[in-house]
Point group: C2
DNA sequence: CGCGAGCCCTGACATCTGTCACGGCGAGGT
DNA sequence: ACCTCGCCGTGACAGATGTCAGGGCTCGCG
């Protein structure tokens, strides 16, 4: 009995290459490929794959949201998240969204098929090096408002612009920013943005 | 007669997948795979491939430097650069380094083999959508010092730290930063960093 | 109810940042 | 030799930023 697969990755070349790689395995069958998170759910409904391989970095609906949607659909499709960046926050958020496995694109090619088989068997597959990091970095320490403000200031917007965009006073924006800077251990907003992005807190 | 290929990509999974994809073609033969830019030159010397597929984003020696080294070796190996990010600056720098072709990982999988064949035939292969962008964005308008300073300030370092690191006065650092901000069209250093990175000027 | 914890919001103050006008230096043209 | 132009370096100044102390609000708990 073959395992039916859905592939989602916005980079056509990578998607096709993964399809070629997985098709070499006798017991795996790629039944659908999509290039955006928004198309995942429809494809799952139509093809009923056993396992969905989702990339996190996709425009529009990202892999995390797509995972949530697939799991919520309740069709028995298990999700294996595949990502370029081994950020601790991604792992945590993917598992919270209901993913059954999480692998980084750094793993040897031969291990991907194994990961698929394990996920299909109901096991959890987690990159071991990431698991440790994820525990120490834990949940985001930022409050909702702090996250909003930091996100708005991400690409260099001034306090005035952020305040305008979020309908706050400038003092409030500065205060949230200050809190975020303190919590991330940086010296200024740019450093705070780097840390928060690296941990998947934005 | 088959075309002999070298694959370089730091992500083992992507590398293996590309190998599987290209091996499906009758006239292509993957003779070597490496996971870092530093290993490229040795592998080229040992296996004498016709075409080398190099990813730009690699730790240590990046794809641009590796291209330069392969071309300088003068063994007749042509370079096809494959990258995740379609930044105009990358294309320009890759071609300046002597690459024969440049494709983004967004292209359909079937086109990669064609690109390889064209490069092997001595043609230039350039993603057409990028070519236009590259011309308008052109060379970096930043002077050497401005680039240094902006690079040092990239992850949120304060003026004092940058000045220390580059052995300059704080006033000078501020001035270079100011010039970079003006040239990039931003309002502050964070915006300048974004723009410069997006154009491959750093 | 009374209380404390946590979050959001604000204004005042010291510090940092970006701008500006200016001088020195080397390369290339006249 | 002279001039010009572009890049590097510098200090003074206004404006933006980060810190701090503090008030109002909701929510859960004794």
């Amino acid at each position: 009995m073959t395992i039916r697969l859905l592939l989602a990755d916005d980079q056509a070349l990578v998607r096709g290459a993964l399809a070629a790689l997985l098709s070499l395995e006798q017991d795996l069958d790629v039944v659908a490929e999509v290039g955006s998170g928004a198309d995942v759910l429809d494809a799952v409904r139509e093809h009923r794959p056993d396992v969905a391989l989702l990339d996190i970095e996709m425009p529009g609906l990202d892999g995390i949201e797509a995972t949530r949607a697939v799991v919520a659909a309740g069709l028995g499709t298990r999700v294996l998240v595949v990502t370029t960046f081994g950020r601790p926050g991604y792992l945590r958020r993917a598992l919270q969204a209901g993913a059954s496995g999480f692998v980084v694109k750094d793993v040897p090619a031969t291990q991907l098929a194994d990961a698929v088989r394990r996920v299909h068997a109901g096991l959890r597959v987690v990159d071991p090096t990431l698991a440790a990091d994820s525990l120490v970095s834990g949940d985001s320490p930022l409050t909702e408002r702090e996250t909003d403000v930091l996100r708005a200031a991400r690409d260099g917007a001034s306090v005035a612009v952020v305040a305008e965009r979020l309908h706050l006073s400038q003092g409030t924006v500065r205060n949230h920013l200050s809190a975020a800077i303190g919590k991330t251990g940086g010296d200024n907003r740019a450093a705070a943005v780097r840390v928060a992005e690296a941990n998947g807190w934005l």
